[in-house]
């Protein structure tokens, strides 16, 4: 890796530390708002993808901004130790539109003011508290607004003859998470969609503070249930980097296997639901059957259907004997064949393809500007996949091929899912066939000083990022998990206008974003 070149281009005096278990990642402290904004500009201009922005409060207030480059992950940290009140930081939204909601979230929860941000509306907190809830030390009672008016959100209106509004949610008509959508519609056609999220805000960043590592891992696993493996793994990587601990090869293999099983389970569920939303109930029955088979095997071999809490900092809580490996290999073979059959049926089904094609188009250029990754990004020609690009161990040994499509419509996102299932299954097969002996979990070393770490994994929807700051004795001082949904929700807003109202459920399903992972 041309690490030297790389550090010359950016901040002098740091290098990206390669790690065996994943991509190189570095935390770069910034000493002034000026250098912070300069560095961010350089990173964005040199092809870095903005991945998220978050804050940490008491006792060391700071803003953290993450960029993913081909070379590795970089987090800029701007300490806010200036004696001003209220504390401010420069907004990045003028050149990074995606930063808008993140900066509004920081303003809501911490009270730090993004200078230069045009949008003054709240985002996550919905005006429920009279003070920013994370500004005070943990355990403080946060006064609530006596009668919060949740309806009072200034949505942008479209005016004109025949234009009307459709409000949807927060309680949706199905087994779905809560959120509000406001459509501006003329006839059947959507002119504008605006999202209002934050209904599942549970104060996760606040709950991390002061927890032990093990309790923190349980919480991280519950940031977004369908990505529990990815969140647990990112958190574990962050803790392990902070403690300078490297998991054994066997543990890395098991983790990669679990991550792929989560991906396959989710893709199966999504493909079934997409068929159903386009009127093919057969697809739902078939894919949910395959998913249930997989979940039941998870229960037998790993002890949990959705693999909650199987990955812990220091290792994994599961082991496979030869019989289990043979069983999983047999499952793998059957599943690959079944999915192949179903893909042919989907491809040949005129009615289905008619609904999928040219619906909900995310143009590659727009996807790039919004920094979309994951299935959505790859369906719109954004060639980013941590497993294929960076290949820490074991991906280096069995590199998965990158799935890519250019059309950016629902059909492209369906195709990406089909491709990725087969690729994941091939990877699982290789991992199972070469699984090294491994000890289950090792005790973590102690940290004599405060230490920070980062973790990043290619989850079901894209890059899941974790950052943790540990006080001596393994107590979490602050932590944050960044689900890719936060970057993809704005992309949904862009995609829907121009489509029929009745196509919204289908488009939404083809994104299948997490509300909980966004709202934290």
């Amino acid at each position: 890796m041309d690490n030297d070149d790389f550090s010359k281009r950016f901040s002098p005096g740091f290098c990206l530390i390669p790690r065996e278990d994943g991509i190189p990642r570095a935390i770069i402290p910034q000493n002034s708002p000026g250098s912070y904004i300069e560095e961010a500009r350089t990173l964005a201009a040199s092809g870095g993808r903005f991945l998220g922005l978050w804050a940490a409060g008491d006792p060391e207030p700071r803003i953290c901004t993450a960029f993913l480059l081909r070379e590795g992950l970089i987090v800029l940290v701007l300490p806010l130790n200036l004696p001003e009140d209220p504390q401010t930081f420069p907004s990045l939204s003028s050149f990074l539109p995606a930063a808008d909601r993140f900066e509004r979230t920081v303003r809501d929860l911490f009270g730090f003011v993004p200078e230069g941000l045009e949008d003054s509306r709240p985002w996550i907190s919905q005006g429920l508290w009279t003070v920013p809830p994370l500004a005070s030390p943990p355990g403080t009672c946060i006064p609530e607004t006596p009668t919060p008016d949740l309806q009072e959100y200034p949505f942008v209106r479209v005016l004109g003859p025949g234009v009307h509004e459709i409000p949807v949610g927060p309680v949706h008509a199905g087994i779905i998470e809560p959120g509000h959508f406001r459509f501006q519609v003329v006839g059947e056609k959507v002119l504008r969609l605006e999202e209002r999220l934050g209904y599942t805000h549970k104060g996760v960043d606040g709950l991390f503070r002061g927890r032990e590592i093990a309790a923190g891992a349980r919480l991280a696993a519950r940031v977004s249930g369908d990505s529990t493996v990815a969140c647990s793994l990112a958190f574990a990587q962050a803790v392990e980097q902070a403690l300078d601990f490297s998991p054994a090869a066997g543990v890395r293999f098991m983790r990669a296997l679990l991550l792929e099983r989560e991906r396959v389970a989710n893709h199966l569920g999504d493909l079934g639901a997409l068929g159903n939303d386009a009127g093919l109930g057969f697809g739902l029955s078939q894919f949910t059957r395959l998913k249930e088979d997989l979940l039941r095997r998870n229960r037998i071999h790993f002890g949990a259907r959705y693999l909650f809490d199987v990955i812990v900092p220091g290792g994994v809580r599961a082991n496979l004997d030869d019989k289990a490996i043979l069983d999983l290999l047999e499952e793998n073979r059957l599943l690959a064949a079944e999915v192949g059959d179903l893909q042919k049926i989907y491809d040949d089904h005129g009615g289905l393809q008619d609904r999928f094609q040219n619906t909900g188009v995310l143009l590659p250029e727009v996807a790039r500007r919004l920094g979309a990754g994951g299935v959505v990004g790859r369906g719109s020609a954004q060639a980013w996949d941590l497993r294929a690009d960076h290949g820490g161990d074991p991906y280096r040994r069995f590199p998965p091929a990158l799935a890519l499509a250019h059309e950016g419509d629902v059909a492209a996102r369906v195709r990406i899912r089909f491709l990725e299932i087969q690729e994941s299954l091939a990877l699982c097969r290789a991992l199972l066939e070469h699984l090294p002996e491994h000890s289950i979990a090792e005790p973590l070393p102690d940290n004599p000083e405060t230490a920070e770490g980062l973790g990043i994994v290619e989850g079901v929807r894209g890059e899941v990022l974790a950052w943790v700051r540990l006080a001596p004795g393994g107590v979490i001082r602050a932590a944050h998990i960044q689900d890719p949904s936060a970057l993809l929700w704005p992309a949904l807003e862009v995609v829907v206008p121009g489509n029929l109202v009745a196509d919204f459920p289908l488009i939404n399903k083809s994104f299948n974003l997490s509300y909980s992972g966004h709202d934290l």
Partner: protein, 164 residues
């Protein structure tokens, strides 16, 4: 088309037998059909995955006479998941008000029972019962589908909990 039919034929029937308690003719209850409205009050979406699983061919909840409906006005049973975030307190109460009597409330998952891992956060109400009266709870994180199903089937004949 023939591929699709062959697949259906080869897959066969997968639905597992369940044991719905037979309600006696004169006891209060919902007879043979139960309409369920689900409200996510801020879950991590893990519990939703298991509720969705109830509709797969193995559990096929509808073959027991229970089905998920799109409006609380059609519902006999409210299933609530999540620790009830402060922002969902109001929508949850309104959903209950829109559900006609007789009705039952089932709290599914550790979060809905007492807040689970999110307990004592500034942003949650520590479960459903501090917000609306709960008739029955299913602990677990997430609870497996057969346990949720058992609780739903029991709800057919669930006596009403005293109003708080």
């Amino acid at each position: 088309m023939w591929k699709l039919l062959v697949k259906i034929f080869r897959t066969g029937r997968l639905t597992e037998k369940s044991s719905r308690p037979v309600t006696q003719p004169h006891t209060p209850g919902f007879g043979r059909s139960l309409a369920i409205r689900h409200v996510d009050a801020g879950s991590c979406n893990g519990c939703e995955l298991e509720l969705l699983a109830l509709e797969n061919p193995y559990y096929a909840l509808s073959s027991d006479g229970a089905k998920f409906v799109a409006s609380p006005r059609h519902a006999d049973l409210l299933i609530v998941t999540g620790p009830v975030t402060k922002a969902m307190k109001d929508p949850l109460t309104k959903t209950l008000e829109a559900t006609p009597e007789p009705r039952r409330v089932l709290a599914v998952g550790d979060c809905a029972c007492d807040g689970g891992v999110f307990r004592d956060s500034y942003a949650v109400c520590n479960g459903v019962s501090p917000v609306i009266p709960v008739d029955h709870q299913v602990p677990g994180c997430p609870p497996p589908p057969d346990e949720i199903r058992r609780a739903i089937l029991r709800a057919f004949a669930l006596p009403r909990q005293a109003q708080k």
